[in-house]
């Protein structure tokens, strides 16, 4: 019986790490390829917390000491609180400073670019 449980725990740890890395990479691809700030924020905000949770769970299942598990649990809880609040603060600040979301991508390219540049009062 103990052998069986050890194998299950180890395999689920490896699976968690794999899914965590997959979500991580999808978030990274999203931040490079998405067209607008708010869409990028959507990609990052969702996949960041999820990937962190999965990777930390995978590490928790693989470690032997109890203090390490407690510390990983603390990092997980902190990330769960901190990441959504930071995303909220960033989106709210961007919205209040005038950055308009890209609403209509069906019109011709030049019209959309003009609309975006006309509305972005904050830019570099």
């Amino acid at each position: 019986m103990p052998l069986y449980i050890n194998a299950v725990i180890e395999i689920s740890g490896v699976l968690c790490l794999l899914t965590g890395s997959f979500f991580c990479i999808s978030g990274g691809v999203g931040i490079v390829r998405f067209p607008d700030f708010y869409t990028r924020m959507h990609a990052v905000g969702v996949t960041d917390t999820l990937a962190a949770g999965m990777v930390l769970t995978g590490l928790m299942l693989q470690s032997q000491e109890s203090l390490v598990v407690v510390k990983l649990l603390m990092i997980f809880l902190m990330t769960l609180f901190i990441n959504p609040s930071a995303s909220h603060a960033l989106a709210k600040a961007a919205f209040h400073s005038g950055l308009e979301p890209l609403i209509n991508n069906n019109e011709s390219n030049s019209k959309t670019i003009d609309k975006k540049e006309g509305n972005n009062r904050v830019g570099d």
């Binding site: 990274g28 990052v44 990092i75 901190i82 600040a93 904050v122």
Partner: protein
């Protein structure tokens, strides 16, 4: 397995840096730095496991907190943190009833 996860996180950090250098507005760059920070927390935890030293988890906790404080700091000291306030008049409050 741990090494594969570490490599994946390194790749994502490079992607976040690309957005940080390219991003047209300030908020893109803040987003990229925030993502870089959370990925660093994961990277440090994984490196601690790979090298067999669980003391790195303290560094990971510190860096998660520092990341949060830095993002809030940048938002506080850019111009868009506080809405412009209307001067409050007691007389106008009475009129609304």
């Amino acid at each position: 397995m741990l090494i594969a996860a570490t490599l994946a996180i390194l790749v994502v950090m490079i992607l976040a840096m690309i957005r940080g250098i390219k991003g047209p507005t300030l908020y893109d760059r803040i987003l990229a730095v925030n993502m870089f920070g959370t990925k660093t927390v994961l990277l440090i935890s994984l490196l601690g496991f790979v090298m067999g030293r669980p003391e790195f988890l303290d560094i990971a906790i510190v860096y998660a907190l520092i990341n949060f404080i830095s993002v809030i700091g940048v938002l506080r000291y850019s111009d868009s943190f506080e809405l412009k306030q209307k001067p409050q008049n007691k007389a106008s409050k009475v009129k609304e009833f």
